[in-house]
Structures are given as C-alpha cells and as structure tokens.
Amino acid sequence: MSTDSAPAPQSGAAEDVKQQGPRIAVSALTTNLREYGLIIALIVIMLFFQYTTSGTLFKPVNLSNLVQQNSFIIVMALGMLLVIVSGYIDLSVGSVAGFIGALAAMMMVIWPLGIFSNPLVVSIICLIVGALIGAAQGYWIAYHKIPSFIVTLAGMLIFRGICQALLGGGSSVGPLPDSFKALSSGFIPDVIGPLTLIPPTVNAAGKTILGSGLTLHMTTIVLGLVAVLAYAYFGFRTRRKREQHGYEAEPFVLFVIKTLVGSALALFLVFQFASYRGLPVVLLVMGVLISLFVFVTKRMTIGRRIYAMGGNAKAAQLSGINTERLTLWVFINMGVLSALGGLIIAARLGQAVPAAGLGSELDVIAAVFIGGASAMGGVGQVIGAVVGGFIMGVMNNGMSIMGVNVDWQQVVKGLVLLGAVIFDVYNKNKA
C-alpha cells in the first residue's frame, strides 16, 4: 500500500477558506432578499394607501387603530409560525380564541366567582386553559400521529360549538370591566409627563380644539429612543464580534443603511404614537412577544430543533431530538397564544360574541405564508410572519378607509397571498 498513488483529496480544497468575501456578501444579500423584499413590500403598500386615503393611514389615531385591530392576528401568527415550521397546521386557533373570549366574559360578568372574577386572575386561568387545549390537540398529533389538519379541524368545530353554547345561543356577554379592556384599547401611562411643543388652539368659546397643537407622550418617546438605541447597539456589537472572528459577510455600508432605515422608520412611528395618546398596551405586549420569539427561533436550541424537525423529522429523531415532545410543546405554545388572541379580541370588543375570531385562523395562516414559510415545514421566520400579518392588516385598514367593499377586500387579500407564494416558489426554482 502506498499513499502517494492514492486519489488524495485535492481539487477544490485549496479554494475554500478566504477570498470568498464578495461572493458571500452577494449570497447573503440574495438569501436575505426575501426578508428585505417583504419589508419593502409592506412599506410600498403603506405608501400606496397613505396616498389613496389622502394621508389618513399614517394619522396617529389610525395607526393606533391599525395596531389594535390586527394585534391578535400577529400574536397568533407567532404560534402558527412554529406550528407550520414544524410541518403541521392548526385550524382551531380562531375557535379557541372565540371560546376563550366567551370563557373570560362568563367568568368576569356572569358567574359569581368572587376573587376569580378579577380580570388578571381570569386572564391567567384563560391562558392555562389555552395551554391545556393545545396539549390535548398536540397529544393526538405527536403521540398518535393523527394528521394535524384533522385533529385541529375537529378542534375548530368543537371549540366554536362550546363558545356558542357558553354564550347561550346567539347572545353576547358584556360589558367587560374597563381594566380588562385596557389590554386592547389602553395606552401606556405617561409616567414622565407630557411635553407640549405647540399649544393647542383655543376656539372662541374658550375650549381647545381637539387634535390641534402638538403634545408629546414623553414616556413613549423615551421608550422608543431606548429601543432604537438598543437595536443599533446590539446590531453593531454582534457585527463587531463576527468581524473579530473573521466571519462577517455583510458589507458595512449595507449594515449602516439597514440600521439607519430601520431606526428612522421606528422613530417615525414612535413619534406618531407619541403625538396621539402614546403606545397602545397591546403593541407593547406584541413587541415583547415578537422579540421573545425571534430570540427563541434564532438563538435557542429548542428553536433550532423545531426547524430541524420540520426540515427532516426522521433525521432529527436520529440525531437525538425527541420529536414527539417537541411537537407537543409547539401545540401547547399555540394554545396559549390562541388564548391570548381570544382575550385581546374580547377586550377590544368590550364583550364576548359568538362569532369572535371566526375565520381568523385563515388570516393567521395567510400571514405566516405571506411571510415566506413553507407549507412543507422547516422554513419560515418570525419577522416574516409579523410583516405578513401587518401587510394583511394594512390592506384591511387601507381598503376600509378607501371604502372598498368587504367582498372585494377578500378578493384582494386572496390575490396577495397567492402572489406572495408564487413569488417564493419562482425564486426557489430560479436559485
């Protein structure tokens, strides 16, 4: 035996490590194109409606409405993203949300529960019930391999039925206590105190004209500034760390542009909110949840395992991942977020109605798919789902202001969903 004559590894081995900088940069850009493209699409859609609604869309009061109307979709889309990335689907979320809203209303308004009628206690119990519902559905999917489509289709019927039964047929239950309604329609308190830049105009009768002048909600401004600075700081620090290890791929200019555009947009929105009544509570809740889910999916082992399971369940299993337990957790998470969605809906309406959340599972699923998730599992980003949710929301809101008929709104939303997925498939085939 001699080593010399052996077909030693040679070709291509030399050109591996360095000198690939520019190529990686280009590929980094193209792989992220989907995400950038989505955000650009959202901005274009917003500008379009800003124009067609003659400036109504970006009005502070409308922005607050926009957030309050769509937050429950986005909250549920966070859970749905994990479900879809895992390779499953959950059709029951709208019904579960409706059922939880009804349960919360009954506990707070009808049933004599004493301390257990306290909105906070009710909310916590409702989230736990949501977790149990998720566990019940996830159990059949994970351990008995019943297709999720079927299990959650059953759940969709069951929980809509219970929701209507709880509310006693077609009636609605309310009004809900104001402290509960604050979850959806409340704003964060201004602990710092307002700053009046332009005093409001006073009319002849000595009353101030609503909406005139400019008073800023300072707590919102400060929170916004802190968030933007943190975003820039952490972005920069991660970049530095990667540079030190020689792994940085993205060109500096691109990084700066990205950070500046992102910060400017965020500051603009913060300013708009501050000039109205400050940050809606539900936006804060949403923001915290979004950050949490980005962190879990991008940085934590459990997130990584979910992607691996969705990408190739068998390989994940043979790599030591307990796919059954992971599936169960994904559905428990979905259940909790559906429950939270249900609470948000009820809080916004101020009452529980039998049709609460009806059909919203489709909006939630659409948001995730517009956001670039694959129906086959293994692919999808939290930010994508959030932006997808906002695209749906802005279209709803913009078309409503324009006075587009609800029937046609559905047609447009359907076309956007189809278009986004076609764009994805087209991109993938080109690559």
């Binding site: 035996m1 001699s2 080593t3 004559s5 052996a6 077909p7 030693a8 590894p9 070709s11 291509g12 081995a13 591996d16 490590v17 690939q20 190529r23 990686i24 590929s27 980094a28 792989t31 991660t238 760390k241 990667r242 290890h245 792994y247 791929a249 940085r299 934590m300 082992t301 459990i302 990584r304 395992r305 992607y307 691996a308 990408g311 190739n312 068998k314 390989a315 994940a316 299993q317 043979l318 790599s319 030591g320 991942i321 307990n322 694959s374 293994g378 692919v379």
Partner: protein, 510 residues
C-alpha cells in the same frame, strides 16, 4: 441487424461543483443487450437520466441520435413517446393501486375520460404472461414482492411499445432466483428483437447476457468491449483503472479491549409482528478496531443497527448491550448519544440531513449542547465548530452557509460524518458510508475512518461492497437473513469466503 439504434456523442453534464460526465460516447446496436458497468458514482445513472430526458436538452452538452434522428428531449414523456423506456433503481409504482392500474397509469384505455376496465385488465393479463408473472391484474402492488414488482415495471414498459429498454440495476434488490428469471426474460426479449441497455455492477450477470459492455469510470467512457473480450478481470481492470491496493489508506491497527458488546439481540418486524428480523445476534468491537458487517441487501444489517440505536426500528427488542462490560441503556436516541454511541445512517438524504438547512446547522444538530449554554446557542462557537469540521473532513462548499441539499453525495456524507464526530462518540456505526459517492470522496471517507480508529474509537462499518470491507476493516462479521453466519479476520477473508458464508450460512450461527 447491426444497424445502430442509439448514438450518444460527447455527452458532458456538470452539476454545481461537479463534472458528472465528460465527453461520454455510447453506441448501441439494434437487437443487442448492451451492458454499462462502472463503480457507484461513475456516472451510469446520470448518463441514463440524460438519455431519458430527466435532465432535459440544454442542461447538458452533446448529441443524442436515436434511430437516425437527433433528439432533444424536454422530459421523460418525450423519450417514452419514441420508445425509450427506463426502469429506475427505485421502482416507481403506486403501492395502493392494482397491477393493472399501475401498468396503465396515465395511459389508460378510456374514452372521454371513462376507463374501460375490461380492456385494461385483458391487456394487463397478456403483458403479465409475456413477462412470466402469474398474478391477478387486480392484485395491489403492495401485496407482491420486489421481484414481482420489477416484472410489473417491465410489463409497464412493454405496454408503451418500447424500442429500447433501459434497466438501471434491476437485480440490486432481487434474490438470486428472481435475478436469474429476470435475466432469462431479457434474453427472451432479445430473441424477439428488442434492444436493451443493462446497467449493473454484478459482473457475473453482465457476463451472462451482454453482447457488449461499455465501461464508465469517473464520468468518462473507458472502452466498449465486444462479447468475445468480455471477462471479469478485463472489466475490473477497466472499471477501477488502478490496482486495488491503493484504494484504501494504509493503517496500523492498535487494537485494545472490548468497548461495545452486543449479546443475543433479537428484533421483530414493526408491522408484521410475528416476523423475526434479527435473530440472536452477538458481536463485539474493540478500542481502535474497525469491524465490518458484510451481507446482501435485506440481510438485516441496517435493521440491526437502527434497533440498537435508540430502538429506532422494530419492536419486541430483546438482548443486552455492554459498554466496557457495563450494561448500557440505549432505549432512546438521546440516551445512545449521551452514552457516546453514534449511528451514521444508510440513507443520508432521508435519515441523515436536513436538506433545506445549511451545513452549519446540520453539523451541530446531534450535539447542540456543545455550542450552547442554558439553551442559548453561541453563534460564534457554532461557527468555529462548523468551520473546523469542514476543514477536518474536507467538505467542499463555498461556505458553511451552503444548503446541504445542494452538495454532492460525497460532501453530504462528510457533513453527516461531521455531525457525528462533533457528538464525540466512542463507538461509531457507519451504515454504507460510501454508497453512491465518487472514488475520491470514498478515499477521504476511508481516511477519516482510519483516523478515528487510530484515535482509539471503536468503529463498525456496514457495507455491501466487499472489497471495501476487505480494504478498511480488521475483522468482518457476515450477516444473512437476520443472523450472523460468519466471522473472520480481514487478513484471511476474501470475497469468496464471505459469499460462501452467506450461501451456506442458512440457519447456522457462528
């Protein structure tokens, strides 16, 4: 006769990073059986995919001339239309449909979309008679064996008025008897004037039926031998292109104590509960030793390994596993990994990799704890691990962010190996580690195996390629029908000895 039915001229096909075929020429005469031989990964299947239009015209260079006409196939449909039918290694039958339904799938006797079942079944019966299959046309595919399924595929080809029949490794999963029957059938077709191309690396079969043999190596045509020059020796020299000695890296085994010992391992089939798949297997592997498990396809080697590794296969598993003399709990995959056992799966695409994710994430998957603390992944640490293994195992990719689905088979295998090396095992079970990868990558895999053994790990290699086992292992177990039927030191083993053990090993344990 003797008119040329098919000419392929200067066919060159490149995949990203790999030149699979370069200037391949093939000329087939009417009415002959033309065999194409070559090692795994030599480019035989790629060539046939070019011929049948799986890779459409424009994605390769060169010319295809069939019956005097230059062809530009856009897909399989085009090639089938003019009478070229290929039967792939993996059968393409729908298991829950009947034989008749499968044969006329997409091609039913129907008027205005309404199927004439009588006509279909009568024609199926005729076709089945031609291929010598005695089954009711209404039988479901799932209820007949692989050998018979192969015949159904051929009947299906006949239904399409085939002029050139291509069989890609038709006997790979057939028993000896079924293989003989299939070859007889081919000879019968030849008498009736049909032309066929037989791809195989079973040289005795080629010897038996072929009129001509074309040898392909590393994506090139080496030579075409006429019937009178066909001999196994000649073909082997041509196929390998170098003496067998230097296909394996040299190593000096330093063998220590027994690390892993399996005693009386028995496993039953997961669905057919009464069928015992693994029967009382006992084996051991020592520190620094490479142990091979030889056997034919279906001998139960993969089933054994998977049942051992976290009970990933089968039910009613019994037996004992000892790690350095102490009983070992391998009841789940994570326990097996924690106990430093690794199993590199046979089918890397189905069981080994997340093809839609990149190299970095695949490499760390079996040991995420190694790159994270409190469940939070340290991106930098993961990056350096991935780069480190990429270098160690020589994965050819533009960066660790390349999707594993876009890598060649050899590089995919190196990613799977890296994943398990990073899990830091003491015992590695490698299942067909070089299946379907090119010669150069094979050598690299062998080098990695040799290095692992030199580092004191215990390695078990399952392989159907006997020369490979003879070349890289220290000791070989021979398996057949779920039993160990032989054990021999690699130094005094030979292909004949292994085959003999398999053939007469019926019911005899070592």
């Amino acid at each position: 006769m003797a008119s040329t039915i098919l000419e392929m001229r200067d066919i060159t096909k490149t995949f990203p990073g790999v030149k699979a075929l370069s200037n391949v020429n093939l000329s087939v005469e009417e009415g002959e059986i033309h065999a194409i031989v070559g090692e795994n990964g030599a480019g035989k299947s790629t060539l046939m995919k070019v011929l049948s239009g799986v890779y459409p015209a424009g994605t390769y260079e060169g010319q295809i001339v069939f019956r005097g006409q230059e062809c530009h196939f856009k897909g399989i449909h085009d090639s089938e239309h003019i009478g070229i039918v290929i039967i792939h290694q993996e059968l393409a039958l729908v298991p829950m449909l009947s034989i008749a339904e499968n044969i006329f799938l997409g091609n039913e006797h129907a008027s205005y979309g309404v199927i004439d079942w009588n006509a279909n079944e009568t024609r199926t019966a005729t076709l089945l008679k031609k291929v010598g299959l005695k089954e009711d046309p209404k039988t479901l595919i799932t209820n007949i064996g692989v050998g018979k399924q192969q015949l159904v595929e051929i009947a299906k080809a006949l239904s399409k008025e085939v002029k050139l029949l291509i069989l890609d490794e038709p006997t790979a999963s057939l028993s000896e008897k079924d293989s003989q029957a299939l070859l007889d059938l081919l000879l019968e077709f030849k008498r009736q004037g049909m032309t066929s191309i037989l791809i195989s690396h079973k040289l005795n079969e080629v010897n038996r039926v072929a009129d001509k043999v074309t040898v392909i190596r590393d994506g090139r045509t080496i030579e075409t031998l006429p019937r009178k020059d066909i001999s196994e020796d000649r073909i082997i020299t041509s196929m390998v292109g170098r003496s067998l000695d230097d296909r394996y890296p040299p190593r000096e085994p330093q063998i220590g104590d027994v690390v892993l010992e399996v005693k009386n391992w028995s496993v039953y089939h997961p669905i057919h509960a009464e069928r015992q798949v693994i029967k009382n297997i006992s084996l051991n592997v020592r520190k620094g030793e490479v142990v091979g498990i030889a056997g034919l396809m279906g001998a139960g080697r993969t089933e054994f390994a998977m049942s051992l590794f976290g009970r990933s296969y089968g039910r009613r598993i019994s037996g004992e596993v000892l790690l350095r003399g102490k009983p070992l709990d391998l009841s789940t995959v994570s326990k097996a990994v924690e106990n430093r056992i690794a199993y590199v799966t046979e089918d890397r695409k189905t069981y080994g990799l997340n093809l839609i994710d990149h190299i970095k994430h695949n490499v760390t998957l079996a040991n995420l704890g190694g790159v994270s603390s409190h469940g939070v992944i340290d991106d930098m640490r993961e990056m350096s691990v991935a780069n480190d293994y990429r270098k160690k195992t020589n994965i050819r990719a533009s960066s660790v962010y390349q999707l594993t689905g876009n890598l060649s088979g050899g590089n995919q295998q190196k990613v799977v190996l890296s994943k398990w090396l990073f899990a830091d095992p003491e015992v590695l079970i490698l299942d067909e580690p070089t299946r379907g990868i090119d010669v150069g990558a094979k050598y690299e895999i062998y080098t990695i195996i040799a290095r692992l053994a030199a580092e004191g790990k215990a390695v078990i290699v399952i392989s159907s390629e006997m020369p490979e086992l003879l070349g890289i292992t220290d000791r070989i177990y021979v398996m057949n029908e779920g039993r160990i039927v032989g054990e021999m030191a690699a130094s005094d083993a030979s292909q004949e000895k292994i085959m003999r053990a398999i053939v007469r090993g019926e019911g005899k344990a070592s």
